[in-house]
């Protein structure tokens, strides 16, 4: 019953962390949906979906990642997890996927952006491969974040 005994001053950082993580997952799913719709389609469909995916990652996923990460660090410090010799597995999973996922989101956003620009300039001829590579990266991040959400809430030993 940790939730019941949680001190009040832990609530706000936890709210920021959960809000950031849930918006991040939503932004990644929206971007991924657009990327998957762009996978096999011909222009102009592929161009508009690639642009939508890039803009969603840039303007929604990246800011949400920062909100999730800042809120997560804040609550970790409040709970004293930064001061223990051996952290529990669920904290380790959280740190690992947050950091690695952040790098993959950044690379995916850059690839999606360059891909969308090349698709636009070539009328759908070039840039599709970059968008597909970005799609694979975002699929990996979404899977990792769903597993992380389970681990952070269930807190298995």
């Amino acid at each position: 019953m940790l939730a019941v005994i949680r001190p009040d001053d832990w609530n706000f950082p936890l709210l920021l962390h959960v809000l950031g993580a849930s918006v991040l997952l939503g932004a990644l799913i929206a971007a991924l949906t657009a990327q998957l719709l762009a996978w096999k389609r011909e222009s102009p469909d592929v161009i508009s979906f690639a642009r939508l995916s890039f803009r969603t990652l840039l303007f929604l996923a990246i800011p949400a990642w920062f909100l999730m990460r800042i809120g997560g660090e804040w609550i970790a410090v409040r709970e004293g997890w930064d001061d223990v010799p051996e952290e529990p597995a669920w904290i380790g999973i959280g740190y690992l996927t947050a950091e690695a996922g952040g790098i993959l989101i950044l690379i995916g956003t850059i690839l999606a952006g360059i891909g969308a620009r090349n698709l636009g300039r070539s009328n759908g001829e070039r840039g599709g491969t970059l968008v597909r590579v970005a799609t694979v990266l975002i699929v990996l991040v979404v899977i990792a974040y769903v597993v992380t959400t389970w681990a952070m809430s269930a807190k298995p030993d």
Binding site: L14, L15, V23, G26, A27, T33, L37, D45
Partner: protein, 157 residues
């Protein structure tokens, strides 16, 4: 892991699914804001199908696992649980009304395409920029945010 841990994890995953659906709908509303051509509108609404699946899983999962958790670990008549249940019901009603507004725009775009009209339609654009739709969507976001705040702060618990 005990039953409580599994229920909590599934409840949190369902809540993330609900927030993710709202993010997907927000992306579609923003992306559709300037559209006037029926084929562009129909294309954009393909993204919202994922939102439809996510919101079904999210709303059903939060209520089923939430009530199960309340019966298992809390008191169903606690004020914060009653408040969350009321907000969930209101959100269901608001979501239904919002769906009518935007599904109406999607159906109109499909009808225009079926009639062979794929030229810019001011009527369609007005439907996508609906003040009512925007107000309902904002209200939906505020309701879900309020539920999230209640779930984390658990006032009165």
């Amino acid at each position: 892991m005990e039953l409580y841990d599994w229920l909590l994890a599934l409840h949190v995953l369902a809540a993330f699914s609900w927030v993710a659906a709202l993010v997907v709908y927000t992306v579609v509303i923003v992306a559709g804001w300037g559209l006037t051509v029926p084929s562009d509108v129909v294309r954009m609404f393909r993204v919202s199908r994922v939102g439809d699946a996510l919101i079904a899983v999210g709303m059903l999962g939060t209520i089923v696992f939430g009530i199960w958790l309340a019966l298992d670990e809390y008191e169903i008549w606690d004020g914060w649980i009653i408040a969350a249940l009321v907000l969930w019901l209101v959100a269901g009603g608001v979501g239904g009304q919002e769906g009518k507004v935007y599904n109406g725009a999607r159906d109109r775009a499909r009808a225009l395409l079926d009639e062979g009209q794929d030229s810019p339609s001011p009527e369609l654009n007005a439907m996508l920029r609906s003040q009512r739709g925007l107000v309902l969507h904002t209200l939906m976001i505020l309701l879900v945010l309020a539920i999230l705040v209640i779930m984390i702060y658990k006032p009165g618990a």
